[in-house]
Amino acid sequence: MFEARLVQSSILKKVLEAIKDLLNEATFDCSDSGIQLQAMDNSHVSLVSMNLRSDGFDKYRCDRNISMGMNLGSMTKILKCAANEDVVTMKAQDNADTVTFVFESPNQEKVSDYEMKLMNLDQEHLGIPETNYACVVRLPAGEFARICRDLSQFGESVVISCTKEGVKFSSTGDIGSANIKLAQTSNVDKEELAVTIEMEEPVTLTFASRYLNSFTKATSLSNVVQLSMSPDVPLVVEYRIGDIGHIRYYLAPKIEDEDNN
């Protein structure tokens, strides 16, 4: 028996919004510690890793580990039926082939439940080693979304280079080139508006802007986004989900094509 009750259905909605761009279906792994999700997109260029801790839920019960393969399109449809302030409960029997979503309006006057069929998905878990990243940049999530959007107009790839002075995003394309420099915020009045950089060595990496844009769909989850980079390692873009978990995107950098040299 699995049961997880979340007071704000909006969180679940936002999470789904944040991943459904990249993934068509995904496996929700529920265990005693919480709900995990890890999946790569079809092209195997990016990876989404989401974690919702059990203590973040209003009520959480998971008797036996259970993996639920869900079609995210269908799940989105169901969550659209919930109002933002509704209380949502996910329920599944052990070894069941369906999952049930129950939405209760705040005044308990309206209760709706939706049952969704589960899918059998090939598990393709990747082991992600703990890494000490050379650069860790924190910036306002809205700013990051804006930068990605703006630069994607110029070219398909974005070069992110991080130095002591700041972080620079640039893109070159048909119409010309674009550069955006963010300096570290000197005095931090509001943490969510600050740009902070922790750096061991300068890093310059190139990424496909399309994926970055998909990642920024998570902007509504958090005010701050954290970018972690090291040479020749995938970029990590992390958003916190309230105080119940986080969502991390991994993106493989573009590398030089040896054939072309």
């Binding site: 990876l47 809205g142 963010l182 590398i255 030089e256």
Partner: protein, 492 residues
């Protein structure tokens, strides 16, 4: 009636002078003289003008014709009425009233009968047109009522009202002002420029921030990029923004004037640079104001009002156009304005879709069409028969590769067997000879055809390079998208 004893009387000399004036107007110049016109022309109180007309009419009884104004409470209890009547209808009209509150001469003219009392209105209109400068201001002086609180607004207040009104209306319209996109483009262009140069002094968002800017400029310098978000509103706001304080405004102006000098990035239609500067002048009226104020070197406030009148005219047009009536008002403004100003208006409209029914406007559009800068030419029919050669966006995106757009003849067989030859623009690469072949065939496609990411993502994962992606190199070289499986191992 009236004047007995030691009351203030008009002295006989001036009375005669006035009467002679009236005689001249009525008899010699054959004018319709209304009391209001007279009051205005002789600069006398309206009531005196009415009396003068009466006096004149009694003296010239047989030669002139009068209209009277009567007003009062109607007999039939349907309220009050104020009426202009001809001399001969006076008694009949007076019989309608239960009580008269007003009766005086309205106008005097030589013609026996006025064909149409509407002509009396024309007299007033002419009077207003003749005194274009001080319209009603001096008129009010001659009336019997003064209004102490009817005062002219300060320039700033007018400006504020305009903005407020616009904000309110735009809020309701629920759509962007038609000129919005071009403004945005400009804002973006500015953004890029500013980001590139890191010129913090230019970054300001709206007047409020402007203030802040001067206080803690250092902070802004650090946040140059952050202000991008605010750039759009700023650009929109500065369209109508007027000086708040005199010293602040001069700074503002000088900044604004710099902008049009720079080559325009935003408005693609402008081909000639001369045109573009005009355009920006039209679009940003404060720029124009600024340039004017440069010329006139800040004359005294009186002349400023006049100046602002001009400006205001333009604002009206501009904003009305923004209200979604672009086409129509555009046309009308042309009628209204002296020929000299036409260009300016035209150029305003240039930033929108050129309107079909304005000839001048169309000329302008044609001019830009025939300009050397080629636009995407229609190619719909070709795509039927041609093999669509997959675009090679990567090549296109390479920096430093010189590419030339050339006009090429393209011949192909149409479905029904005719040979067709089309002239079309192709993008050619000059430096990279191995790419030439593909590029030559590559048409100037609409942007969406060159969606690049898909084509290169599924490439084989074998190309794993451990070399650090040195940026300068990689810009000239092909990069390849690595996959995550190169970095992380599968757990099975």
């Amino acid at each position: 009636m009236g004047g007995m004893g030691a009351m203030v009387e008009m002295d006989v000399g001036s009375l005669r002078l006035y009467l002679q004036n009236i005689e001249e107007y009525v008899m010699d110049e054959d004018k319709i003289v209304t009391y209001k016109w007279l009051s205005k022309n002789l600069d006398i109180h309206v009531n005196t003008a009415k009396q003068l007309l009466y006096t004149f009419a009694t003296e010239q009884k047989d030669d002139v014709h009068l209209t009277y104004l009567v007003g009062g409470v109607l007999c039939d209890g349907t309220g009050c009425k104020i009426q202009i009547v001809r001399q001969e209808d006076l008694e009949k009209a007076k019989a309608e009233f239960k009580a008269l509150t007003s009766e005086h001469v309205y106008s005097v003219q030589k013609a026996r009968t006025l064909p149409d009392l509407g002509a009396l209105y024309a007299v007033d209109v002419h009077m207003r047109d003749e005194n274009e400068d001080d319209k009603s201001v001096s008129c009010a002086r001659l009336s019997a009522i003064t209004c102490s609180h009817s005062v002219l607004r300060q320039q700033e207040e007018i400006e504020r009202l305009r903005q407020k009104a616009r904000a309110a209306t735009s809020a309701v319209d629920g759509k962007q002002w038609p000129t919005g996109p071009s403004v945005n483009k400009r804002a973006k262009a500015l953004n890029n420029k500013e980001v590139a140069t890191g010129d913090a002094s230019k970054v300001e968002s709206g007047s409020k921030k402007e203030l802040k800017n001067s206080v803690i400029p250092a902070m802004f310098a650090a946040q140059t990029c952050k202000n991008m978000k605010d750039e759009k509103p700023k650009a929109a706001e500065t369209l109508t923004a007027k000086p708040k304080a005199s010293n602040g405004s001069s700074v503002f102006f000088s900044k604004q004037t710099e902008k049009p000098v720079k080559p325009k990035v935003s408005v693609s239609k402008d081909s000639a640079s001369g045109l573009s500067s005009k355009d920006s002048e039209g679009n940003k009226e404060e720029v124009k104001r600024a340039s004017k104020s440069h010329q006139e070197k800040q004359e005294d406030s009186q002349s400023k009002i006049k100046l602002s009148k001009n400006v205001k005219c333009n604002i009206t047009k501009q904003t009305e156009k923004k209200g979604g009536k672009g086409k129509s008002i555009n046309m009308d403004t042309n009628e209204l304005l002296p020929a000299k100003k036409r260009k300016r208006i035209l150029v305003i409209s240039d930033s929108e879709d050129s309107s079909g029914d304005d000839i001048l406007d169309r000329d302008d559009a044609e001019a830009s069409d025939s300009s050397p800068l080629p636009e995407v030419s229609p190619q719909l029919h070709e795509s039927n028969t041609d093999d669509v050669i997959p675009p090679t966006p990567e090549a296109e995106l390479k920096k430093g590769r010189k590419r030339v757009r050339k006009m090429k003849d393209k011949t192909f067989m149409e479905e029904d067997g005719y040979m067709l030859t089309c002239k079309e623009y192709v993008i050619e690469s000059c430096t990279d000879s191995e790419e030439e072949q593909t590029n030559e065939n590559e048409k100037k496609q609409p942007e969406e055809n060159c969606e690049p990411v898909k084509s290169d993502t599924p490439k084989s994962p074998k190309a794993v390079s451990k070399e650090p992606p040195a940026k300068k190199k990689s810009l000239r070289q092909k990069t390849k998208q690595a996959t995550l499986t190169n970095f992380f191992k599968k757990i099975s």
